[in-house]
Structure formats: C-alpha cells, structure tokens
Amino acid sequence: MPLRPRALAVSAGLLSGALLLTSCAGSATAPGGGAADGSGRQTVTFMGFFGTFQDSFTKTVIEPFEDANPDIEIEYVPIQNSAEVLAKLRASKERPVADIALMDSSVAPTANEEGLFAELDPALVPNLEELVDAARLQDGYGPGLTLDSLSILYNSDRVAEAPTSWDDLWDERFEGRLAMPIADTRGVALLIALSDILGVDHQEDIDPAIERLRELAPGVQTWQPSPDVYTSVQSGEVDVAVGWNARGQFYQDSSDGTVVPVLPEEGTVQQINSINLVNNSPAADAAQKFIDYAISAEAQKAFGDDAYYAPVNENAELDPEVAERTTASEAQQDKQIAVDWSWLTTRYTAWVDRIKREVIGD
C-alpha cells in the first residue's frame, strides 16, 4: 500500500494543530468567569476545599448570602488543596476558571506575586476593617477567612492520661503509637512550635527543632496515616497524632469523643486559609461583595460555630462552648506563636525537604 509517511505526518500535524487552537479557545470560554445570564443574575465561581468544609461553608455562608443577594449565585468548585488551585489558575490566567479562591496562607503569597490574585478594593470590602490581626495578610490582597491551629490528637479509649504538652509526644508511652503526618504544612507549623519551646527564633535557626524531631522518629508508627490522621486515631491504628484542630473537633463530635484534639499548653501555630479575588475576574464586584460577607461577623460566627474555625472578624463571638475548642479561646490567644506567613513562604519547601530527608528518610 503506497503510504507516504511524510505527507501523513504533515497532515496529522496540521490537523492536530488546528484542533489544539480550537480546544484552547473552547476551554477558555467554557467554565467559570462570572458570566451573567439573560435575567441579570450573576454567577460567582468559588473554589474551596472539598468535603465537610464544603458542606459547612455552603450551609452557613453561601446560602445566607444568596438569600440576601438574589441576583448573585455562588458556584462552589471543590478542590483538594492549595496546589490544585494554583495549578488551575496558572493554566487559565487570561480567562480564569474561578472568581474567588481559597488558598493556604503559605501558598497565597506566590499566587499574589504571579499576578493570579488581584488586590481588593477596600471600599467594596468594608469588613476588612474588622479583621483580627492574624487575618490581616499581605497588604491589599485576600484576607484570612479561617483560623485554625495545629493540635495533638489522641484516642481517648486507648490513652488514659491525656497528653497536654508538645513534649508528651516524646513520652515513651506513645512509642510506636504515633502518627506524624508532617511532610507538609503541619510539619512546618510543628517546627515553629518546637523552636519556640526550645527558645530558638525559627527565623534564625531550625536545627534544634529538626534535631528534636529526629529523636522522635524511631517511635513513629507512620508518617503518612491512611486515609487520614483523624480516622487512624479513631480506629486505634495509632494512639496519638498531630493534626488540625478544626477537623479534630469535628471528629471528636462524630466519633462520640474517641478522637480528642488537644491545644497544647505551650501554645500552637495558627494556620490561615485566605480568601482571594482572582485576577481578571469579570465578576470582581460581586465577588468582593461575597468576600466582604464571608469575613463579616455574622458569617464568621455561623461558620465558626459549625466548623470550629476561629473567627477572623473581631466582632464575631462564637458560642462559649465552641470558642473553648478553637484557637480563639483566651488561653490559646495568649500563647499564640506568631508566624509571618509571607516570610515563611520562601522557606516552606526547604523546611519540608529537611523534614523529609533528615527526620523521616533517615
């Protein structure tokens, strides 16, 4: 059969090139981007974390907002983590696939710098005035939406005497019974907390904290509990672990008290998720209206009471019972370990690398 490979290749190349062009155009017009339909109703696309966070946030923040603003519809696009948000926004810089995006405050400065996020207009987001200090992040860019903190989790069925201090992780009672998922933000936060306990400035030197973790390594059952640290503690696969407080509190309720999160007496490090306006959003005004509502005292109280995140609005007062279980508790506020996340962004990767290589991989 007379096949001319060269002609074949050329035509294939041309065709695929053409297809590629059309597909790019297609993907750019398809999703996201604050489209207004004929009725004048505007859709604002919100990228937020999946799972219980989505359930709670939809119920306590999005639905009340939509009730109050019938002309705006919030579309929730669930994402796994901040890296996924970054990837999606990078891939759709000109015609973004979202108008608002949640992002861990350790990642957000990168997105700000790359121009993926836009500065907010203080006139459109008056609630910025009411933010607590911790939630005031990079000047002009998205503020904190949730305040969480690193906790010690333990299984109350298997552990008689509750751990109260970070030092208790080194207690020989828990040798071989520890889950330490610290090859990520949790490890970074733990390094800061340990440096604080060891009396070292984490901006100067984290060697002592790394050294301290190395001592812990032989007693660690798993560095990567599956499916996650909360269920591992609940099932008794491990007795003690480190994890985020808000989800720990959620699991305490759902496990009837088997999983117990402890905010250690030395204090802990806050983790902040920021809410950001995506650059080039065609619905920037509506998006900022929603951001303003999300950080309002009303929304912060509703969401905090439901999901155990400490409020970013100084006027939001959680139920006393709930407040005790968040970093908003007075006891915790006093001992909060300060972190400059925009500084930390530049060290984050290096620290995670050191944890992986010097603590886990050794």
Binding site: M1, L8, A12, L15, L19, A183, Q221, Q224, Y348, K356
Partner: protein
C-alpha cells in the same frame, strides 16, 4: 501530575471531534493509501493530544527554574536537572523505586507462575470460571484493595491480632507503614495482571511436549525444568516487564501503605508538585521516570532476544 491535567482534558474533549474532519473526502483520487491515512489520523491525533502534548509540556517544565514559594521562572536551564542529579536524596528515591519494583516483580512472578501454569494447562470445564476468579480482583480498585491490606497487615490488623491472641508474638509485627507492607500489597495487586499475561503468553506450551518428555524418561521436575520453563519464559518475561513497569509508576500503594517512609518516584513527583509546589523538579523526576522506563524496555528487549536465541533457539544436546 495535576500539572498534566489541563492538557489531558483538552485532549480528550477534542479527540472525539477529529473523526468527521478526517473522514471528509478530499478532492482528487481516493487511493487505498489515503484511506489508510484517514483511518490512522483520528488515533494519531488523539494520541498526540492525550499523550504527546502533555509529555512535551512536562518536558518543557523540566527546563524552567523553580523559585522559592512555588513560583516558576520561564527559562531554559539544565539547572534543575543538575540539582536533582547531584542530590543524594533523589538517587535514594530512584534506588528505592527500582528496589521496590524488583522485589514486587520477583514475588509476583513466583506466586503467579504456578497459578498461571495450572490455569493454562487445566482441562477442567471450570477453567473459564477459574480464570475469571483469578482476575476478579481487577474489578476492585487498587485503593480499596490497599485499604484491605492495611486492615490485614496493620498493628490492629488481622495478622497481628491473630498472632497475638495465639501468643506467638507480644508486640505487633511491623507489616504495614513500611516497605514490607508495600511489597505484600503490591504483589497481590499486580498478580492478576501477571496471571493474565502469562496465560496468554504460554501459547508455546503443549501438553503433548510434556508427555513426549515423560516418555523419554523425564520426571516431573525435569519436564518442568527442561521443557515447561524454557517454553513459558517469554510469557514470564512479558509479565515481569508489565509488573515492573506498573510497580515503577505505582503511586497508590506506596502512598497508602508505606507510612510515608517509602519514597518512590511516583510519590516524590506528587509531593514535589503538590506539597512543595516545585513543578520543575517534579517535571525532572517525571523525565527520570521516563528514562527508567526506557532502560527497562531496553533490558526487556535484550532479555527477550536472549531467551529466543539462546534458550528457545540454539540450545542443543551437546552444547
């Protein structure tokens, strides 16, 4: 990993729309060659879009420069390659990837071979059912099966609980959250693939040859060693290649049951891309994995040729 997603999505979206365009008759003579070309085009284009394009994208990313905090500087540098290749950590990761692949391949082949041999040789009318049974695990996602293995191998798992209650051990054996657990679970997960490949690769096996060998004085072991094994070797090799390659790129099992201790290329690529946001390094590691695949294929081809020439071909009495 997620970095490749956009490309993949657009590829699959548009792949289906190529067919009508490709089949449109062109002016002029319609030769068989052009028909063949037209028939090939949709597949070629789909392959290009879903496979080649993302690969090119990843390859391009490997030459960018990572900045602290996950930012990327568009440039053309071999710096990331140099950083990775001079970093002992990544060599350890590559070594552990190969080590895991080798262990899993050996155990999978050892356990699958007798089963495949039985299934290929049996004349029972339940043969079809038995083969179906051997591959049913494929119907369950490897995630679910890995979790199953965690329930079996964990400190609170069936094995440890049983051994403890019987009094054989006091403290639980570390069967999960380490390389042991990954090897055990991966072996089970890849066995159906190995069995399927072996059965279909055992075509040269003819029961009459075994009878001929027996009639010539060969006992069971001699028949296995001198007749069955050489004739099934190509199938075993192909199964080995498949399992090794699957294992090299395996992510789920090392991640879920490795306890964060088992660093292999797939998990490392994910961590670099997702946790460290270091896309260029993730891309470089992806390229290294590709190189590894290439090496494996080269070794496989050599081995296959060796087997065909030296074991299946020229082996004689006096040699």
């Amino acid at each position: 990993m997620s970095a490749a997603a956009p490309g993949t999505e657009t590829g699959s979206d548009t792949g289906s729309t190529t067919a009508p365009g490709a089949e449109r008759p062109a002016p002029g003579r319609w030769t068989p060659g052009r028909t063949a070309a037209a028939l090939l085009l949709p597949g070629l284009v789909a392959l290009l879009l879903t496979y080649a394009m993302p690969l090119v994208w990843v390859a391009r990313m490997a030459f960018n420069e990572p900045l602290p905090g996950g930012a990327i500087r568009q440039t053309l540098t071999l710096g990331t390659f140099a950083d990775v290749l001079t970093d002992g950590h990544y060599w350890r990761v590559i070594w552990q990837t190969v080590e895991l692949g080798a262990l899993v391949t050996v155990f999978t082949l050892l356990l699958s071979y007798p089963l495949a041999l039985f299934l290929a040789r049996t004349t029972t009318r339940w043969r079809g059912l038995l083969i179906a049974l051997a591959v049913t695990p494929l119907l369950i996602s490897s995630v679910a099966r890995t979790f199953g293995w965690m329930a079996i191998l964990g400190n609170q798992g069936v094995v440890n609980k049983t051994l403890q209650s019987v009094g054989i051990i006091d403290t639980p054996l570390q069967l999960a959250n380490n390389l042991t657990g990954v090897v055990i679970a991966s072996t089970e997960i890849y066995m159906p693939f190995a069995i399927l490949v072996m059965i279909s690769g055992f075509g040269r096996l003819d029961p009459e040859l075994e009878r001929a060998a027996a009639s010539l004085g060969a006992g069971r072991l001699a028949v296995l060693r001198r007749v069955v094994l050489p004739l099934t070797l190509p199938g075993v090799l192909t199964a080995g290649l498949l399992v090794f390659v699957l294992s090299l790129s395996g992510y789920v099992t090392p991640r879920l049951i490795g306890g964060g201790r088992v660093f292999v290329l797939a998990t490392e690529i994910y961590d670099e891309a997702i946790t460290a946001l270091n896309w260029p390094v993730a891309a470089v590691l992806s390229m290294l994995l590709l190189v590894l695949f290439g090496l494996v294929i080269v070794v496989y081809t050599r081995l296959q040729r060796f087997v065909e020439r030296r074991i299946l071909g020229e082996r004689g009495a006096a040699s």
